[in-house]
């Protein structure tokens, strides 16, 4: 199919912020290749006349009324936060610096 699975794994890993060692990369590339091969075989089936679907069961979506329910206590909310400051979750700066500090 002409897909470079090693490159594809690199790309997806970068998007998912995963760092993979060479063995893991090879492992993932093989799996990705198998998965896409399976998908290719499924695509051979004649699906004309079949509604595209994203879910296998056909039930109406569940709805609830607009009512406030109790939230979690703050201690539970922040329990898994790696770092906190006061009642906030503290995270590294994410926005990249301006490419041109002088503006344009």
């Amino acid at each position: 199919m002409g897909i470079d699975f090693n490159r594809e794994v690199d790309r997806v890993a970068r998007l998912a912020r995963l760092s993979l060692d060479p063995d893991e990369k090879k492992h993932m590339a093989d799996q990705l290749s198998d998965i896409l091969e399976t998908a290719r075989r499924i695509q051979e089936l004649d699906t004309s006349g079949i509604e595209p679907t994203s879910h296998v069961i056909n039930i109406p979506v569940a709805m609830r009324e607009d009512e406030v329910k109790p939230s979690l206590p703050l201690s539970k909310v922040l329990q898994n936060a790696p770092r906190r400051e006061n009642d906030y979750v503290k995270v590294p700066r994410v926005t990249p610096p301006a490419s041109n500090e002088e503006g344009k």
Partner: protein, 478 residues
Amino acid sequence: MNYEVVIGLEIHLELQTISKLFCGCSTAFDREPNTNCCPVCLGLPGSLPVFNKRAIELAVIAALALNSEVQRGSRFDRKNYFYPDLPKAYQVSQYDRPLARGGYLEFEADSGVRRVGLERVHLEEEAGKLQHAGNSIYQAEYSLVDYNRAGIPLLEIVTAPQIHSGREARAFLENLRLTMLYAGVSDCKMEEGSLRCDANISLRPPGSDRFGTKAEVKNMNSFRSVEMALDYEVGRQAKLLDAGSIVVQETCHWDEVNKRTISLRDKEESSDYRYFPEPDLMPLQLNNSFIEKLAEKMPELPRQRLQRLLEQYGLDKEAAVLLTANPGLSNLFEETAGIYGRYKDLANWIQGDLLYQLREQGKEPVEINPNQLAELLKLLDEGVINRPVAKELLSEMVQRGLSPKKLVEDRGLTMISGPQKLVPLVEQVIADNPEAVESYQKGKKKVIGFLLGKVMDLTGGRADPGEINRILKDKLKD
């Protein structure tokens, strides 16, 4: 060189529900950080989202108010990206099957009625809120996250690239806000972030059928800054093109302090959101009766109200536009007009002295009792009080909600009128001020103002100056 400016806007509105889109956490704006959070909006494993029916209703109402075609079937997708304002590392949004397609907004512009087309209207969840340490986003070493906002229902409205200046973008936004306020779907407060706007802007030679390279402008926090930022971008891009240079596709931030746009370095493959259908939510099926019921209950929209103010009450356009732009004021106008028939006078008082007093005293139109307002204007019409007294009473009415009629009775503010009461006062003032009278009679006619003031003082400001003037002139002839 001259260029055609092409602008498309992407607007986000927080819908006015009391609980979040997929869970029962409160949407209150002013709570302590991270106290409106639960396993669902924090994206904890094992939690499942359940639609808030009211959010769907409000989204449909908004779409209908914007003439957008509500889809009987739409779907929710995961938009995957890493940013700490998303606790789940994806946002539940809509991609290729949005809630509504197409539509338009019409509004009064300088050049008459303007129509701007829409691409789509869709529903998604709001992200959390980041606070950047340091003076600006660029200097921050770290950020603090509050997830109270995460999961509030958010409506996204995307316009067609049919806007051609910063001024027009601003007019569109102001009218969109008004329409959404009338429809009752959002409180649309730009300063609190419940209404936000991003813009795509590009330039091209007039008549060209290809779009130029666009820049995306973010971080515009007021209607004014939308206009300024887009005007700035027009200038920046025109300068580049004039110099034979090219515009780079990028995202910029509007810098409110320095009044310029600043480029953010292109996020690496930032457009690859790897959308896929949200497996935890069934596709949304809306039947005709659900949509029709909402359409039937659609509140009056700004253009309809404007038309009605013009036709039903015979207001002039300026007054009608002003009242329409302020739903609270026009509600007060209509309620008062039900019991007070001089519509133009009423409109004048409301957009003049009353509006001034409301601003002065930090009050809202809804706090004004229409009966009291009508009472006040009737007292004036019937000659019981004069204009200055009416203004004074209006101030007290706004401030303390006191009945003008009662105030008049309690304080004896009834107008002093008629020769029987006024002639003796005029004669007294003439007797007390022989010098002034002499100079008047020698031709210094302006002195009459001084004498008039003295008589007004004697009445405690409760007489009609015109009437005193007539009596004075008459007496001074003798």
